[in-house]
């Protein structure tokens, strides 16, 4: 299989501190109201037996990206060399078909109406600050085969779903109640 970059997410360690959200916004200088990275919460059960989980919602750089299928202008593509899904902002016409198709509501549209989203800081020559700076080491970035191998003993598994998200999950996480 070709090289595929992705996130490693340890649900037992994420505390929704939002360092990744603000690191992303501040390093990438993202306009207000737009989030390439969000930490969402997932509630379950009934008081006092409630559960509260957290999950990072950035582009999952899926193995089978639904956004690419529906894009009428061919603006979105998946890079052969590292599996990163990128948008060519010159080609995008702002139709938002990708947003409808994405099961995770990832594509973002700011003032210019053109799609923008996480690109793993591909052209910045930096490791994504969201992962580097995670205070609890809940979030890591890398080649997903290596991430999976590294965390084998911790019950690591690849996130399920028809689009094959490039996310390795560790720890208890009930994604059924995820609302995006």
């Amino acid at each position: 299989m070709a090289k595929q970059y992705g996130f490693y997410f340890d649900a037992d360690r994420c505390i929704q501190c939002r360092a990744c959200e603000v690191a992303c916004k501040s390093v990438r200088d993202i306009e207000p109201g737009i989030n390439w990275m969000r930490v969402v919460e997932i509630w379950g059960g009934v008081y006092p037996n409630v559960t509260r989980d957290f999950f990072v919602l950035a582009c999952m750089h899926c193995g089978k990206p639904a956004c690419i299928e529906v894009c009428p202008t061919g603006a979105i593509s998946k890079r052969d060399e590292d599996g990163i899904v990128v948008v060519d902002r010159d080609k995008c016409n702002g139709c938002q078909e990708c947003l409808s198709a994405c099961p995770y509501g990832v594509p973002q549209f700011g003032d210019d109406g053109i799609m923008q989203m996480c690109d793993f800081c591909a052209d910045m020559n930096i490791e994504p600050p969201c992962a580097v700076c995670c205070p609890t080491e809940a979030l890591k970035f890398g080649n997903i085969d290596e991430l999976l191998e590294m965390a084998k003993g911790k019950g690591a598994r690849r996130m399920g779903g028809p689009t094959e998200p490039s996310v390795i999950i560790v720890g208890e996480l009930q994604l059924d109640n995820l609302v995006v």
């Binding site: 505390i15 929704q16 360092a19 603000v22 008081y47 509260r52 205070p135």
Partner: protein, 687 residues
């Protein structure tokens, strides 16, 4: 930077947003003097010389007319410049360091006078070796350094330690817990007493440790009998069975450590609650043993010489306190002599025992920081001279006579960072964006103008820093040669240092030990001699379902607040767009059933009204909160111009939670440590 031993290069969201803090359009840029009426916010620019001359001449004049104690400097929490404030006050001759009763000090007091060491909960929880970790009214997720306690707790959990979290709402640490104990706010002391009852009566205590190292256990046994779990049930809102279970888990899981936080001790029952927990730690054999609450052995790093002038204290200083924060008989405590922050302001109105006439507020906003905002605003209106020192325009500035702008830590190259076993010279990252001095330079320069230059290195910050480094045998310039600082070796840990811990000299002028018997003071003869209860008891909050049942018809819900959230600290940071867009409006967390019963939808604006005042905030549905409790966030007043989001009034109708609380002189203060409650009864209705 990755080399920093404190955070290893990771940061919290507040730090990532600091670029917007430094470059904020709300930064103060130069010294100001008030030209309008108090509260009107009309100012004009003045020079540094004029600012310093005005402050010096007004302080000198008031000192001459009314004595040096007419000056108070407010300092709610420990910051790097706090010893400079004490030095200035002592040189001036005032004991009135206006410390808050809202920080670690009240817990430090109870731990020191029960177990001999003040920091048993802050620095002493030995997560690495514990099989049970109890987080009790603390918030390690939002209120600590990113690589601080929470990360250690998560590591311990992964290793197999159990986590029990005691707090009314399911914050992230509670979400990770094996056992969440949703206690009613402000009743932790009652739970601790009932846990003692169970642990003693079910023989779950360490009899050997108790007989060897505890004083007065025999007196505690009959005393505790009235505090059974059935007694605690209606107070805490936990069932007697659940209280027994919590006590048994803590009593039988060895070793166990407790991390207690401010929610636990910001109550009128503060000192009792801390003592009860201290006794729990001791009698279960968890004191200074691996995995319990320990006294660290420290490092080989020399002591940074403090600029505090505590050696000059005399009894006269203690006797002149306007409103002692810690009861006078125990002054000075850790911070030096201190009056309670709120009581400094209150004296302006009561004139008892005398009025404070001048207040300097460095980096603190009395308008929103302490309870009783209405009285505070009234006091600020009557104060003869008020100086605000800050980085940013703040909510107390409208009442200031002089406003002093200071540099951020990114804009000055002093003093140094000292944490644990690491010391590093601070490096300037950018040139100051305005006409700034640092906080430290300000105090040196003002002291020189006041004629106190001899005590302030004649205004030389360089000499001041070199004085502090004397024990290191290097100068600040030499320290700068180590760009990432110097790390010293930790000393090997030694446990069960009881002879040493239990003979620690106190900070009182007599230096008499905290523990006169050289043992854990279960029965506290020092307190008894000074007219306080020698055994921990229960004191009800000013308002609660059990304290004031007659209020429940009108105010059926318990309200409390957090001081820190994921993106905000205290009364700051709302003007930073990166953070404000995450939490755009002031809020109250409410259980969906509680909200629906009042016709309140998720996101509706609501009025929260207590017997003392009302605020208007957004109701946010929160599944993980007691249905009889609602929770707000401290410190809302600031607007965010960049996002077009408004600020809020300080008094009724705004979003400042401190208008909701009692300031009743008989009920709203812990009698020993002045802690002021942050719980009350409210009703919530659609705005």
């Amino acid at each position: 930077m990755k080399e920093a031993p404190t955070n290893k290069g990771t940061l919290c969201p507040k730090a990532f947003a600091s670029v917007q803090w430094v470059y904020s359009p709300q930064r103060l840029k130069y010294p100001l003097k008030r030209i309008g009426k108090k509260g009107e916010s009309k100012f004009e620019r003045i020079s540094w010389d004029e600012a310093l001359d005005t402050i010096a001449s007004r302080l000198s004049e008031l000192k001459e007319k009314h004595g040096p104690e007419s000056l108070a400097i407010l300092a709610p929490a420990r910051r790097s410049y706090c010893d400079y404030l004490q030095r200035f006050l002592i040189a001036h001759g005032s004991p009135n360091y206006g410390h808050s009763g809202l920080c670690f000090i009240q817990a430090a007091f109870g731990f020191a006078y029960t177990l001999g060491w003040p920091w048993l909960n802050r620095d002493g929880a030995d997560f690495e070796h514990a099989n049970l970790i109890v987080v009790w009214g603390a918030n390690p997720a939002y209120a600590a350094a990113p690589l601080g306690n929470l990360r250690r707790i998560l590591d311990a959990k992964k290793r197999g330690a159990r986590l029990m979290v005691i707090k009314p709402e399911m914050q992230p640490d509670a979400a990770k817990a094996d056992i969440w104990v949703p206690i009613r706010p402000g009743t932790d002391g009652a739970l601790a007493l009932a846990m003692l009852h169970v642990i003693i009566n079910e023989n779950l205590y360490d009899a050997d440790f108790v007989s060897r190292w505890c004083y007065g256990f025999d007196k505690l046994v009959p005393h505790i009998q009235k505090y059974n779990p059935e007694w605690a049930e209606p107070i805490t809102g936990l069932s007697a069975d659940q209280i027994r279970e919590v006590a048994r888990i803590y009593g039988t899981t060895k070793p166990a450590c407790i991390l207690a936080g401010n929610a636990f001790d910001q109550v009128a029952d503060s000192n009792n609650a801390v003592r009860a927990v201290a006794i729990l730690i001791a009698i279960t054999g968890n004191l200074d043993r691996p995995g319990g609450n320990i006294v660290p052995t420290g490092t080989t790093m020399p002591m940074v010489k403090s600029v505090h002038l505590r050696e000059r204290y005399t009894q006269d200083f203690v006797d002149r306190l306007v409103g002692p924060e810690i009861a006078s008989c125990f002054q000075p405590f850790m911070e030096g002599t201190s009056s309670a922050y709120y009581r400094c302001l209150d004296s302006v109105l009561t004139r008892k025992p005398y009025p404070i006439r001048a207040i300097i507020a460095p980096g603190t906003q009395p308008t929103v920081t302490t309870r009783g905002s209405k009285r505070v605003v009234e006091a600020l209106g009557k104060l003869e001279f008020f100086v605000v020192i800050d980085v940013m325009q703040n909510s107390s500035m409208p009442w200031a006579d002089i406003v002093v702008p200071v540099a951020t830590m990114y804009e000055c190259d002093h003093p140094f960072e000292v944490t644990g076993n690491w010391i590093m010279a601070r490096n300037k990252v950018i040139e100051p964006l305005g006409d700034y001095k640092s906080d430290y330079e300000f105090w040196l320069d003002l002291a020189v103008k006041m004629g106190y230059g001899k005590d302030f290195w004649d205004g030389s910050i360089e000499k001041c820093m070199n004085y502090q480094l004397e024990n290191f045998g290097i100068t600040i310039e030499e320290l700068r040669a180590h760009p990432t600082g110097i790390i010293y070796e930790p000393k090997p840990m030694v446990y069960e240092k009881y002879e040493k811990i239990f003979t620690t000299p106190s900070t009182r002028l007599s230096r008499a030990p905290y523990l006169p018997q050289g043992k854990v003071a279960i029965y506290n003869t020092t307190f008894e001699e000074n007219g306080f209860n020698p055994l921990p008891e229960w004191i009800e909050p000013p308002e609660s379902p059990t304290a004031t049942p007659e209020l429940l018809a009108k105010y059926p819900l318990v309200f409390f607040d957090a001081h820190t959230s994921d993106v905000y600290n205290a009364a700051w940071l709302r003007n930073l767009p990166y953070l404000r867009e995450i939490q755009p409006e002031p809020w109250v967390h409410i259980h969906p059933e509680t909200a629906k019963a009042r016709g309140i939808k998720n996101g509706d604006w609501v009025i929260v009204e207590s017997p003392h005042g009302w605020i208007k905030v957004k109701a946010l549905y929160f599944e993980g909160i007691r249905p009889d409790v609602v929770m707000g966030l401290h410190g809302w007043w600031q607007g965010c111009d960049d996002l077009g989001l408004p600020g809020y009034p300080i008094l009724d109708g705004g979003a400042n939670v401190n208008v909701l609380y009692s300031t009743d002189p008989d009920k709203a203060f812990d009698p020993m440590v002045t802690a002021m409650p942050k719980q009350t009864l409210v009703e919530v209705r659609k705005a």
